[in-house]
Symmetry: C2
Subunit: 159 residues, 2 copies
Amino acid sequence: MIGLIEYNWQVRDEWLDWCEMLSTEQLYAEQTGGAGSILYTLFHIVEVENSWLRAVQNKQDVPYIFEDYSSLDEVKALSNTLRKEHALFLRTDLDAVLNQYVQVSWDNQIYQAKDILHHLIIHEVHHIGQLSIWARQMNKQPIESHYVGRQLKRVEEYI
Amino acid sequence: MIGLIEYNWQVRDEWLDWCEMLSTEQLYAEQTGGAGSILYTLFHIVEVENSWLRAVQNKQDVPYIFEDYSSLDEVKALSNTLRKEHALFLRTDLDAVLNQYVQVSWDNQIYQAKDILHHLIIHEVHHIGQLSIWARQMNKQPIESHYVGRQLKRVEEYI
């Protein structure tokens, strides 16, 4: 499970760096389908992951609004800051909570923590697949999506 | 891990059913980015998963060619047939092989079986994310991508 999170974090960073070549217009252009613009999609990935990972740790949700983190540098900084907070939990306490049930504040369902982990893993990969189409439609080469053969930065290196 | 495969299999079936509403032209239209057409993408997901899962079981690769399975019904049938073969392995022997190293026939790397499982999970979700964009660009509602709150058919039900 951790390997899939490490994959997502690394691919996310590669996409955030990839965004450096885009114009402001390209970063913010409303796309058809998905979450919205390219930059908003990356912000959304960060924000949603944070909410679910806080819930798994029984921490109160702290929503973030795109308007407050709407430059590429701000999205990168937010991702790095939140990830640092979660990396220690993932490295040390994750196994102990996987079978626990979690009540989240944004709906009235109770989910098992491992299902939440599955959900946020898929959430990011799904949105990254969408970015890859928009990239090609802009005549740009997307970030590679393979898992095998990719050297992954380990979760503890984010602490 | 099995939960993510169950998710992929179910979402794949939902997309294959979704395809029933498409015209032949829409099924085969070459898209920008991704693997090609909508139907080819679904075939590609099936074919790639089969190759990796056979490798993990130390079975010789049996490549499939789209030209031989190029109707929607044939892709559905191929997916069902191959999945049936793999479901028993996933249910009974997966845990025992996760840490084993696997030599695949299509490159000269050796991969750990659990990394191969991660790879094929991500491979499908990434391509499904791409389908969701093409769907919206055709003014059609894509299949939902959430993991939590989705009732999953269990691997053993595919046997």
